[in-house]
Amino acid sequence: MSKSPNILLPALGVTGIVLGGAYGTMTRSYKADEADIARAQAQAAEARLVSQEEANTDLKSQIALVQDTAKAKIAELEARPATVSLTAPAPMHDGAMGLGREALVEEIAAWDVDVLPDGRGLPAGTGNAFDGEELFADKCAACHGDFAEGVDNWPVLAGGFDTLADEDPVKTVGSYWPHLSTVYDYVYRSMPFGEAGTLTPDETYAIVAYILYSNDLIDDEFELTHVNLGAFEMPNKNGFIIDDRPKAEYAAWSAEPCMSNCKDEVTVTMRSVFLVNTPEDGGSESVMNNATVEGLPSFTSAGASFIPEAEAKVEETVEVAAAAVEEPADEGAALIKAGEKVFKKCKACHAVGDGAKNKSGPQLNALLGRTMGSVDGFKYSNVFKAAYDEGRIWDEASLTEFLAKPKSYMKGTKMSFSGLKKEGDQVAIIAYLNSFLGD
């Protein structure tokens, strides 16, 4: 509350300026009106052979009168209490306005489930890692891995101890999170992804215990409950400091900046890692940038050291046709190359090539001619299991149809991918996948 005068003042300061400006304009137009009248009077006077001096005096005194009136009005406005200014912040009501209705106890209970670091807010319950393991395998492992190690790009929940000062810190529940309350709170309210709010408190305690167990922080008999959760000490509980930028940075970075001869020479030390193409149908395609810093000019206050020869312009498209132009010698190779680019859309979930493992989708080696849903150790959806039982085989036609619209070709598939719209992309990706038939 102590802040509120500070909130109002700057806003009113601006208001004052705006009003002053508006009043300035008003004054000017008054003057113009008065001047017109005066001019008319002057003409009339001339016609009546009254002397020019007299008319001027008349005009001056009229202008003076208008100015005095305007000044008085400005003074009056400025003297008014600031609260009536025209752009004041929304007024604060003294006490309640009587809007809204009182929240019912059961409504608050339904929504107010967040948990504070000391454990306040936890519902009664209990669970252990032994029970948690099965729940986790069933509800969480598809994305976070059987051991909470993370699949593909999905978050890693375990491990990473002593990596926080490394080049690439691994921030997990075990290595990074300061409070166990947060794990309960987040899992209970926000996971499983796509089915949030379906876990019971006991299931949540068991799953949280399993995540602790995966991080070697408890054994599988430890009973996690609403009583001991708040006091559980996480390894990184002392790893956080409150924002110290004001002290550590702001003072040092508030000096009057240098304007000239700030450095002797500047060279380019790194070029963009990725070039980014922006296709017409949206999204983006990142392509490794092969250019090096060699051959770029350095800079001094006299400008660039030299003007390099024209560089080849970066191709903006990833169309199959464009790829074909790049390597006209071998159309097949060009198509496979184009397919490799399209495969970026699949990479998050699928691997292909030597030693490719299952990710959240099955590996795609030797796909053409392979029975649908046949990769060992991959948990397929029912529609894929049925296709397997029927002995259906992937060929170009079925693959094209599936990739164009996965969800309509395989009703109930768990492959969350909307499909490849462009025919060129479908052809290219099949050529690409086909290049892994050999092994």
């Binding site: 929240a103 967040d114 702001y250 900046p257 890692v273 070039l275 400008g303």
Partner: protein, 423 residues
């Protein structure tokens, strides 16, 4: 499509001839008369599209490349992901809602105004539930504010990464919000029960499946936070939290909870996942800063930039960019064309509002030589936007968030710009 809307082959040929003439241009004289001028064009003869053809209009098809775009490989799923505002192609300061970046943790949800409920509970005199219609009866305010994701420019900690200002700086938008000050709603519920307001918190959460929640200190909650239901004069877009979102001026975008459903007054920060696991900044020694809410002063040149090469050759060139600060107004922006050896004060297109984008310009006569373009913002506190080197010296390279470094574009003699890092 009826006949008159179809570009005829003749018109197409004429058009390309004109384009060819245009490319020789830049020169002050033309050899042949421009058919776009000498021939009567279809649009100057046949009538155009009638009213109501598009009850709610989209930009003309020639601007269809000006869209937000994502970088698929950055995240596991587009449902919990981010895309980027095409700031390279926008001018002025207001971001149209339709191309303003999106960040969802569990996808954008469709909620009707009629189904909207906002609860205030915790340390209040009377816990309340508001409908959308209730909110419309509180005194309103209008303010322009920028909303920047804390991870904007985050990839650049590891050096020049993505080639495009849309991708390096596009997790930002700037809109005029209409809403009710949060303090008015807190006042309605009564803060007597909270006692001394010092060290009290307000926890805010959304109605979506991620129920993304953040803790806001009471001082900020009573200052300039808005419970907003309109942006740029119209309803919020679904992807920005329709029907109601929180606006937390100058503070990181994650706190601007969308589909806000609950506000709880409390005596402690919740330290939710979004304020512990995420949105905390790991320093070089492995300790992390938490509660780094303010977005420090920052600027970037939007044109020329990798997606906006100079196509007109030597001569008059408009260098255009954006500057902003979560601490207040931008007071000055300097531009360098030689990688930071020499700086020139830029012209502010218009004094931006506090905690809102400011447009700046430097109008130069380009001699066709390569440039290293940089911009450097200063705000009303006297803070000067730091270099990448200063940031890394202070924080290391692992903090992910709050990278407000000076950005460099190398522009070659052909006018092509690239994201680079300099000594």
């Amino acid at each position: 499509m009826d006949e008159m809307h179809k570009p005829s082959r003749r018109a197409f040929l004429r058009g390309s001839a004109a384009a060819a003439a245009g490319s020789i241009a830049g020169a002050a004289s033309a050899q042949t008369a421009d058919p776009l001028i000498t021939d009567v064009q279809d649009w100057a003869s046949i009538t155009g599209v009638g009213v109501d053809e598009t009850p709610y209009g989209l930009p003309i098809e020639y601007e269809s490349h000006v869209v937000r775009r994502n970088v698929e490989w950055l995240t596991a799923s587009p449902i919990s992901s981010i895309n980027f505002t095409p700031i390279h192609a926008l001018e002025g300061t207001i971001t149209p809602q339709g191309c303003a970046f999106e960040r969802h943790h569990s996808g954008a949800i469709e909620m009707k105004k009629d189904d909207y409920r906002l609860m205030i509970n915790g340390l209040v005199d009377k816990p309340l539930v508001f409908t959308y219609a209730d909110l419309e009866r509180f005194p309103r305010e209008n303010h322009v504010y920028f909303c920047e994701c804390a991870a904007n420019t985050g990839m650049e900690w590891a050096g020049a990464q993505l080639n495009g200002v849309q991708f390096t700086h596009g997790m930002i938008h700037n809109m005029e919000y209409t809403g009710v000050p949060l303090r008015a709603l807190l006042n309605e519920a009564g803060l007597g029960a909270a006692g001394d307001l010092k060290d009290k918190w307000v926890y805010v959460e959304g109605a979506d499946a991620s129920s993304n929640g953040r803790s806001i200190p009471m001082e900020k909650a009573l200052d300039d936070v808005l419970v907003a239901f309109k942006a740029n004069g119209e309803a919020l877009r679904m992807e920005h939290g329709y029907p109601v979102r929180l606006v937390v001026p100058g503070w990181e975008g994650n706190m601007w909870v969308k589909w806000i459903r609950r506000i709880e007054v409390s005596d402690a920060a919740t330290e939710s996942r979004e304020e512990t696991s995420k949105y905390t900044d790991v320093m070089e020694d492995g300790t992390a800063r938490k509660w780094t809410w303010v977005m420090d002063a920052k600027s970037v040149i939007t044109s020329p930039s990798p997606q906006m090469p100079i196509e007109h050759g030597k001569g008059p060139l408009v260098i255009s960019g954006l500057a902003w600060s979560g601490h207040g107004q931008i007071t000055r922006v300097d531009v360098s064309r030689d990688g930071g050896i020499t700086w020139e004060p830029a012209r502010l297109g218009k004094q931006g509002d506090t905690k809102a984008l400011t447009r700046f310009y430097l109008d130069v006569d380009w001699d066709g030589a390569p440039m290293l373009l940089q911009a450097r913002a200063m705000d009303e506190t006297g803070y000067v936007q730091p270099t990448k080197e200063q940031l890394r010296d202070a924080r290391g390279e692992n903090s992910v968030y709050h990278n407000n470094c000076i950005q460099t574009w190398y522009v070659n003699a052909e006018g092509i710009a690239e994201n680079v890092e300099v000594s």
